[in-house]
Symmetry: C2
Subunit: 356 residues, 2 copies
């Protein structure tokens, strides 16, 4: 039996909390203790009383065996870690090696949610996916709010309004959810991904998969995609630019762990969009997929296009984001801390004071 | 052949414009002249150049035979009207009799879009409906943005998130569109209307029609709904309060022309809602259907519920709102100004200097 500590998150824009009452109840039933810092759930709509009613104690979470967080700990928090404590959370291991080294210096052990292996046994712990799902959904809601047009086709007695044209770049978890949500709202959706293997998934959601005739068709050579030729790259670039100019909304989702996001939407593509159109760049945290993105801001271009670079979108739906995250943490805790287990070994980034 | 003048709207929050280039083009083809005030379309994303390209002249719109507006004219605008000019627009005839009298004093004639008879021949001119459609759609988008939860049910490897519960009060044009949009986004929707005749429409959109067993069933007596007894009213009130407490989102749409909006959501019903829940009150302009609504503001209650009282929601989607409105105006212009025609006679609120 373990004691699990839940600090109040202190990072900018972080409204999530690592456990929610429903999950606290399940941990208590399994015999664990939970200590929640007062106010930890407030931004997610969870009162101290709700945590207490679920069986949590209110107090100092940093003395616990396991400290579960959402965002990476700040310096003041790292100083609270003790030898042997197990820290669980998003730890940005590729983007913040100094942070990891500081955690290691405390003698603690740390499991990064980003490093949970993407194997089927660990799906229930996959917090990157659960949070990306929320980001993809919210990107569409934000776009629908910003667009001066309607998403669905409207047929009225005075005439018909055509449906919005939405382009989704990158069909990972966030991209697929964005496709699904934009389709639900009635938009015509086109999606592009360098991995043509996702074509069927995209189509099953009712979207068009963006392809250029003759480009990339040879991918099956040896089972691997081949690099596009220069001529093919240019043909694809030009066709994508034309698709962007036709789009009312572009949602970009292409991130590469530990590296700056690739630029997929150049400035001239934005300049060719209609006034009022909207770009939502879900890669803003790593620099953005659009050349005009300013992380955390909304850029209004000279031609009247809004380029949004939201940071931490899941945190803007903190109740369900926390609920899903807490279930990911629960699944990890239920697995136990067997460091010979493939999942725990994969997630472990600091072990007994050393970065691994 | 007429000259039609399009002023730049000056009312607070008014981003719409009474004509759009597509409609200007059709008027020009029919032989009419259109004079657009410079900047009239900017807030709706329509440049002066776009109007000019469609055949409009840029200049003083107040010398035209017909002046088409969206919002009621302000004092400075009324002073620009001349004897014989025909003013067309939302004129708030029931809410602003002084405004109408001032229009009459100029010797102008005025047609109120609110007064277009709701007969099938005039459907294409029904701007109240076209704008209510947009308001209903946008109310749901705003609610989805404010809610810290997701609208659709999410099934993830870590567990399931239930769909949002949405309650729509009033199943007119705005309410039906809100129902439809919330259903699209995956919510479970319940709708209430005192007119049980709309039950089938509500159900055809996939929503539940709120009814209390035994209440109102006797409506068919003599073909008229009978007044509910005191006991029935209390049973309905209590059942509605329970439904409100279960709701993540309440959207209210009950307006009575020329009278304050009825209070449908009392303060204690909001107090019983879960933290994070959202009320969007589409009747805010006439005082609101929720006791806590403050027109134009968002009220955050002690129990963490947001009560939004948006004003002029269609204006927040100015491109499509203007596009639909312009087609309504076009249909009216195409009818011509035959004051013996039922539609023109119905819409006419000022004739040659007299309020009618």
């Amino acid at each position: 039996c373990l004691t699990i500590g839940i600090p109040r998150e202190t990072a900018d824009r972080e409204r999530r909390v690592a456990l929610v009452p429903e999950v606290v109840r399940r941990l208590r039933t399994a015999g664990h203790e939970v200590v929640v810092e007062p106010g930890a759930g407030l931004a997610a709509g969870v009162s101290d009383a709700a945590f207490a009613a679920a069986g949590a104690a209110l107090g100092d979470p940093w003395d616990a065996d396991v400290v579960a967080k959402v965002s990476p700990p700040r310096d003041g928090e790292i100083a609270r870690l003790r030898p042997g404590t197990i820290l669980v959370g998003f730890l940005n291991p590729l983007g913040d090696p100094d942070g990891l080294a500081a955690v290691a210096a405390t003698g603690a052990t740390a499991l990064a949610m980003e490093r949970i292996p993407r194997i089927s046994r660990a799906q229930s712990m996959d917090a990157l996916s659960s949070q990306a799902t929320i980001a993809g959904y919210r990107a569409v809601v934000v776009a629908a709010l910003e667009l001066p047009r309607l998403f669905p086709m409207f047929m009225t007695a005075a005439g018909t309004v055509p449906p919005a044209q939405v382009l989704v770049l990158g069909a990972g978890v966030a991209g697929l959810q964005a496709i699904s949500t934009a389709r639900r709202l009635g938009a015509v959706v086109t999606a592009f991904d360098v991995r043509s293997a996702v074509k069927e998934q995209v189509q099953s959601l009712g979207a068009k998969f963006f392809e250029v005739a003759g480009v990339g068709d040879a991918e099956a050579v040896g089972g691997y995609a081949r690099e596009l030729t220069a001529a093919e790259q240019e043909a694809q670039r030009a066709a994508l630019a034309a698709q962007m100019a036709r789009s009312d909304v572009i949602i970009t989702t292409a991130q590469v762990p530990g590296r700056p996001a690739p630029t997929l939407v150049p400035a001239d593509a934005v300049a060719a969009m209609k006034p009022g159109s909207v770009v939502v760049d879900l890669a803003a945290e790593t620099g953005g997929n659009c050349a005009l993105t300013r992380p955390g801001e909304t850029v209004l271009t000279d031609n009247g296009v809004k380029v949004l670079g939201p940071l931490n979108l899941p945190s803007e739906m903190p109740e369900h984001a926390s609920s899903l995250y807490a279930r990911n943490v629960l699944a990890l805790l239920e697995l136990g801390f067997d460091f010979d287990d493939e999942v725990i070994r994969g997630a472990c980034v600091v072990r007994d004071g050393a970065v691994v």
